[in-house]
């Protein structure tokens, strides 16, 4: 059962940040509430103040100078059904379409998903591969955090206690993108994202970003696995894929749990990396 709390209703980002600063650890941002309210009902956490930010805006999707800006309060449903995103980031739309279930997608927000940093979540992994930047606001100042620096550990991000995530900014690029996941529970056991460009008459792998999530405590970019594929011919990259999968599996810091053993998850990372690589390459 939910214990008593006070609902704060700021009308701007600045005001919300001030409320967070005033109440410190006894306050928490309340957006969709799909993760927060569950843990509060279970009694795992309690906050005296919930800061409802639904009135501060932040629910727009815009294209601006080669960057797609997604407001942190966009719901997963809004993102899975956005014609703008379908045109510019179809892999992101596909990923959003497969987040949790229809009830969660209706209420849950992209910002809430990222800030709660539940290890078995999809969006963070794909955003790392897309080279996204997350914009955090505190008072009237702002800073950008790369998606790969945003996730610190399970349930921990690099946001300061009185900072709010306001926007997710994804650079537009001519690239192939794939996000694949596998699991037999509602939350995935492993998620792998690949974003790559093909260079030199499409015969070579250009820039490539690989990220793995769900297997370990937080989503991670796989720089060593990328290095085995970047700049290589299609044939050489394909030959290097098993090695890249092994390296990514080990680097994922997979944890044994109900979703699978460490060894099993490491193997699945390799399988999904191979499939995601070929899927992304086929789009170039």
């Amino acid at each position: 059962m939910l214990r008593r709390f006070r609902l704060e209703e700021p009308e701007s980002v600045k005001e919300a940040s001030e409320v967070l600063g005033r109440f410190g650890e006894s306050a928490k941002i309340y957006a969709g509430g799909t993760e927060l309210l569950l843990t509060m009902k279970e009694g795992l956490v309690h906050y005296e103040h919930l800061v409802n930010i639904k009135k501060v805006g932040l629910n727009q999707i815009k294209r601006d100078n080669g960057v797609i800006k997604i407001g942190a309060l966009c719901t997963h449903h809004q993102l899975e059904s956005s014609p703008e995103l379908q045109k510019s980031l179809p892999a992101f739309v596909q990923m959003e379409h497969n987040v949790a279930n229809v009830r969660v997608r209706q209420a849950g927000t992209i910002g809430g998903n990222l800030c709660f940093a539940e290890p078995h979540a999809d969006p963070g992994t794909l955003l790392i591969a897309l080279g996204a930047k997350l914009v955090a606001a505190k008072g009237s100042s702002q800073r950008e955090i790369t998606a790969e620096d945003f996730f610190v550990d399970a349930y921990e991000t690099s946001l300061e206690p009185d900072e709010l995530l306001t926007d997710i900014q994804v650079p537009e690029a001519n690239r192939g993108v794939a996000y694949l996941k596998f699991g037999y529970l509602e939350r995935p056991s492993v998620g792998v994202a690949v974003a790559l460009g093909a260079g030199d008459g499409k015969q070579y792998i250009g820039d490539i970003k690989i990220a793995v999530g769900c297997a370990g405590p937080a989503p991670k970019r796989m720089a060593d696995a990328e290095a085995l594929l970047r700049g290589k011919s299609r044939e050489e990259a394909t030959r290097n894929l098993p090695k890249a999968g092994e390296i990514a599996g080990r680097a994922a810091q997979a944890l044994s749990d109900l979703h699978g053993s460490q060894e099993y998850k490491e193997h699945i990372v390799g399988v999904l990396l191979k499939r995601a690589f070929h899927s992304a390459l086929s789009q170039c």
Partner: protein
Amino acid sequence: MQFQKDIEILAPREKVWKFIWDVDQFISCMPGCKEAKTVEEGKRYTATMVEKVGPFKVEFPTTIEILEKEELTHIKAQASGADNKIGSRMKIELDVSLKGEGDKTTLSFVAGVDILGKLAALGHGIIKRKADQVLDEFTQAVKQRLEGDA
């Protein structure tokens, strides 16, 4: 969950043994452990374990009972506690053994840890990782304290 950790300490066994029974010093090496008290010398102690994973905080008032003790060689202990706020319980069965001669001692910890209740919803992997980190920090602190005093 099972944990095993061996540490080599550049100190004689007698010194390590004495350090283990200096409850204030020994417990201060354990991250998140506070308010250690001796209830019955050599048999029963209490302490409070405080840990945090992201926004989730637990506070276990814990009773530690010494089940077996073999001078300079082995201790078997059991610790149990409950956090009633979040409805979770913890039970640890711990074997500590000392081996070695002269100025070197190998201190071995074998622990079986059970976490029951709502805290388990965080998942076995996350809890085990946290417990691994705590045990690593604890054993490093014990080593540093003993070797620093050499």
